[in-house]
């Protein structure tokens, strides 16, 4: 806080001015006087009006602060399409991928525009899409990416993990255990259908990511059998 500075005065009409209008007033004073250092306070403000956020985005100011907002959607779209801001691309892509109310065409068009974002593709690979059509559109986008092989491995791991949570067939459980994938092992360790001998192996697993969690879950599962 610059205590030596005279406070910035926001002149308001109490009959009509909301907090958003006051923030718009402040932001314009800061912009007109070149005192941009306090704009992050406004960019992160819950009451900042949408039009002001879009104005700041168009000026390319404090994109990090704007990019960490959850909305409005139009802001995220501008950050993604005009500034290629990674967090905005991931947030929008995830929403379009997961929300059953979002049309497949919208997701397909968006992911096609941002198919060069490996970070986004890898994030989506860990998610369960809201429709098979979106899964297909995602795989189409992944195909041409230089890291396609690795991203498709993530997709496969997620599918095995999902299967491992509910598998009941001993052959399927054995196959899933043989993947040696820590995420799959973690899912198996909490599955009540997993045979005791497999759980005992999971209860002593070491040297993989989330090993302690896998052991704890397996031990709790054994105790309940």
């Amino acid at each position: 806080m610059a205590t030596i500075d005279e406070p910035i005065t926001v002149t308001v009409d109490p009959a009509v001015d909301s907090a958003g209008a006051m923030l718009r007033n402040v932001a314009h004073q800061l912009l007109h006087t070149g005192r941009l250092d306090d704009l992050p306070w406004i960019c992160t403000h819950d009451s900042a009006p949408d039009d002001l956020l879009l104005e700041l985005c168009d000026l390319g100011l404090y994109l990090d602060e704007l990019g960490h907002r959850s909305g409005p959607r139009q802001l995220l779209e501008r950050l993604a399409d005009q500034h290629h801001y990674p967090e905005a691309i991931i947030t929008l892509a995830s929403n379009l991928y997961l929300d059953p109310n979002e049309p497949t065409d919208s997701f397909a068009a968006f992911i096609s525009r941002h198919a060069d974002s490996g970070w986004t593709l890898e994030s989506l690979a860990r998610l369960e899409p809201s429709s098979a059509a979106k899964a297909d559109a995602f795989l189409t986008a992944v195909k041409n990416h230089p890291d396609a092989k690795r991203i498709l491995q993530v997709v496969e791991s997620r599918r095995f993990e999902s299967e491992a949570e509910t598998a009941t067939d001993p052959t399927a459980i054995e196959r899933l255990y043989a993947t040696r994938d820590p995420r799959v092992w973690r899912a198996l360790s909490g599955n009540r259908s997993v045979p005791r001998d497999v759980l005992e192996q999971l209860a002593s697993v070491t040297g993989v990511s989330n090993a302690a969690d896998i052991r704890d879950r397996a031990r709790r599962n054994i105790a309940m059998q």
Binding site: V10, P14, A19
Partner: protein
């Protein structure tokens, strides 16, 4: 407790944070971005005469919101007339 001081001056009514250092620290403790400058909300008397008596909105709630002191933050806040 953060206090917003309401002060009646010759030209109108001012709202300002009473203890700025405490206010900034309180916001930061909650992970809320704090302002780097001081702000004063000012209502000229020509506005206040006609509008303050029966404002269309709960104006002091809007002042609290402006200072990021909404009830959702869990920060206790009061407006005190000087």
């Amino acid at each position: 407790m953060v206090t917003i001081r309401k002060h009646r001056a010759a030209d109108g009514i001012h709202y300002e944070i009473d203890d700025v250092a405490h206010y900034v620290q309180t916001l930061r403790e909650r992970g809320i971005e704090a302002p780097k400058r001081g702000y004063r909300i000012f209502i000229p008397y020509e506005k206040s005469d006609q509008d303050i008596r029966q404002p269309a909105i709960d104006f002091e709630s809007q002042v609290k919101l402006f200072f990021k002191l909404s009830p959702a933050t869990g920060i206790e806040c009061e407006v005190v007339e000087a």
